[in-house]
Amino acid sequence: MDNKIINKMNNDQLIIAGKAFSSRLFTGTGKFNDQATMVAALQASNSELVTMALKRIDMQSKEDDILAPLIKNGMNLLPNTSGARNAKEAVFAAQLAREALQTNWVKLEIHPDPKYLLPDPIETLKAAETLANLGFVVLPYVHADPVLCKHLESAGCAAVMPLGAPIGSNKGIKTAEFLEIIIEQANVPVIVDAGLGAPSHAALAMEMGADAVLVNTAMAVAGDPVAMSRAFAKAVEAGREAYLAGLGGQSQVAVASSPLTAFLEAG
């Protein structure tokens, strides 16, 4: 391998709002069968940033203490605003999360429709402006809409998180053409979030030049979540390395890889 690429990979850090990440695989904590599996899977993923949610607790049933093992393993927490149906609720949720987790980072997600969980662009932009003004590091979950992503960047978001496919659908990257435009135009990191169902999907996002991906369901519901998380980690690294190496161009017709001519003439 070219030494330049090795150097690039070794010094390849993702910086979001001044914080450096060595791993470009972000993860979620939802849907794992049990906490031990979750922690083992997150460790196998090498992820340095994990999302979590906030809930108004039911006084009749106790929630697991999910926080302690994550903090113990040195993971940075990214609370989300899941459950918020509009900008006002999302801002309230972000402020609660800041108190609960003592971080001003927030994954802003507003998806009022429970069937497709598609993000509401108007409410998301409104909330992003308010939260950025309040000093939050805002990472908004949005549709792969290049114009919206530029608006969010102008609003002061630290990154954008366009979707590949609906949350938890495992369908992969259905928005490739638009993700490419977003990546080309963005001045903030682009994190492809939602819908990545297989390591190959994550590798594709990274080959396209995404700065990071966020994966949750595909790991949590895999036959072996720990092995799947390791596979995602490898795919993200491979995709990133391919991007840095520079992919060859495509051609409609064959381009011979072997010099056939000299052999034919010899006969």
Binding site: T29, I66, S82, A100, G168
Partner: protein, 71 residues
């Protein structure tokens, strides 16, 4: 000595506390972890740094939130 009580609601559940009880004491009483929790009283978020001094009043509507798993 007889202590007077205040009645409050926590996530719609009625709870009786000693008068002058603060939010930290409420969380201890509920056996709820201090870490990963957030509190709003009458829809207003109370910052963690105020918990020890924030005295709960009769009829306060307390909302208690906790960090849970999520993507």
């Amino acid at each position: 000595m007889w202590k007077s009580k205040v009645k409050i609601n926590v996530n719609e559940q009625p709870i009786e506390l000693d008068e002058q009880a603060n939010i930290e004491q409420l969380l201890t009483f509920l056996d709820s972890p201090l870490k990963g929790s957030a509190i709003a009283v009458n829809q207003k978020i109370i910052s963690r740094s105020e918990w020890a001094n924030y005295k709960l009043q009769e009829n306060d509507q307390v909302s208690l939130f906790q960090a849970i798993a999520g993507g």
